[in-house]
């Protein structure tokens, strides 16, 4: 069952890659739609980030001093200034681990 879902997701992903290159004329997408598409990452990823940080495993809001909030803030600061993907992820994980294992 899950395999079928993966295959459908794969075919759909392939279509997003292939449609504009091989099937339709490229001017089919107007400039306005192209501009909106540049916002896709900013529109999609916070919908994953926010619940993963502010909600616990049972879907309830976490406390303000939760280590996840601390880790996320560190990651945002490190990411913003270092522009380094690896540094962003590991600074967040490391600060999270320091809080849960040491304090």
């Amino acid at each position: 069952m899950t395999w079928i879902t993966i295959i459908i997701a794969g075919v759909l992903t392939y279509f997003t890659r292939m449609t504009m290159i091989a099937i339709v004329r490229r001017d089919l997408l107007g400039d306005q739609i192209k501009e909106v598409l540049t916002f896709v990452p900013s529109a999609v990823f916070p919908a994953i980030i926010f619940p993963a940080i502010f909600l616990n495993d049972y879907g309830a809001y976490i406390e303000l001093y939760d280590p996840k909030i601390f880790g996320a803030i560190i990651a945002i600061l490190v990411g913003y200034f270092s522009k380094n993907v690896v540094a962003t992820i590991f600074s967040g994980l490391l600060s999270y681990w320091i809080i849960i294992f040491i304090f």
């Binding site: 879902t5 997701a9 919908a47 990651a75």
Partner: protein
């Protein structure tokens, strides 16, 4: 005029700096799949069938959280809709290729490869075998992604659950969007998306993952209109 081989190699070289983020990202994707309790073959199969980092993580996260297949597939579609943009930009340079070649090349269009090849295309419009640069970036990224996710799957079976590796999911996505915090319109769109995801979190089938981006894209369109 550069030869096919030279262009292919140039593509490989140009995309190399991205390995620094692609490889850890792949390892995390594999490890998280195992951490969430999925069959290793399934986690790896996605790297070949879907071949899209962010969407693979979201897909696994949603299914493990009890989302319906329809929601998981739709969210993969929403996340990967950005490829439409890449395709529209690249098609100008790939126009002369046969349909078969276009169909094959499409499979390896990913973020980092698009970024580097598009940069190269802009400055080398006259090259005859331009597309070999894209094949170079795409194939390099494909091989790295396969090796990285496989390593992650193997590593994932050793990572103790207490480490809370799941927290790497939001961190990975923070790393992807953090540079856009410099642009005020992107910040607004991000806040709208984030707050809607919390508001709609309890809707059935995890549909918040589709509703929130749609609300946020609507706001983005509105902002674009206001700017003009």
């Amino acid at each position: 005029m550069l030869s096919k081989k030279q262009l292919f190699t140039k593509g490989m070289v140009d995309v190399t700096p991205h390995m620094l983020s692609v490889i850890p990202f792949g390892i995390i994707t594999g490890a998280i799949g195992i951490d969430l309790g999925f069959n290793p073959y399934l986690v790896y199969g996605m790297s070949v069938i879907i071949f899209g980092g962010a969407s693979q993580i979201v897909f696994l996260q949603l299914l493990s959280g009890g989302a319906s297949s329809l929601v998981a597939v739709t969210s993969v579609g929403v996340i990967n809709s950005r490829h439409l943009l890449y395709g529209a930009v690249l098609s100008e340079y790939l126009e002369k290729l046969s349909l078969m070649k276009k169909l094959l090349i499409s499979y390896i269009v990913v973020d980092q490869g698009f970024a580097e090849s598009n940069k190269f295309f802009k400055h080398n419009k006259k090259e005859q075998y331009l597309h070999y640069h894209l094949i170079g970036t795409g194939c390099t990224l494909w091989v790295c992604w396969q090796v990285a996710t496989l390593s992650g799957i193997i590593l994932g079976s050793f990572v103790p659950e207490e480490l809370g590796l799941k927290f790497a999911i939001p961190l990975t996505f923070i790393a992807i969007v953090v540079q856009d915090l410099k642009k005020i319109d992107h910040v607004i769109v991000m806040i709208v998306s984030g707050i809607s995801s919390l508001l709609f979190f309890d809707l059935p089938f995890k549909s918040y993952i589709i509703i929130s981006p749609i609300v946020a894209l609507f706001i983005a369109a509105l902002l674009l209109r206001l700017k003009k």
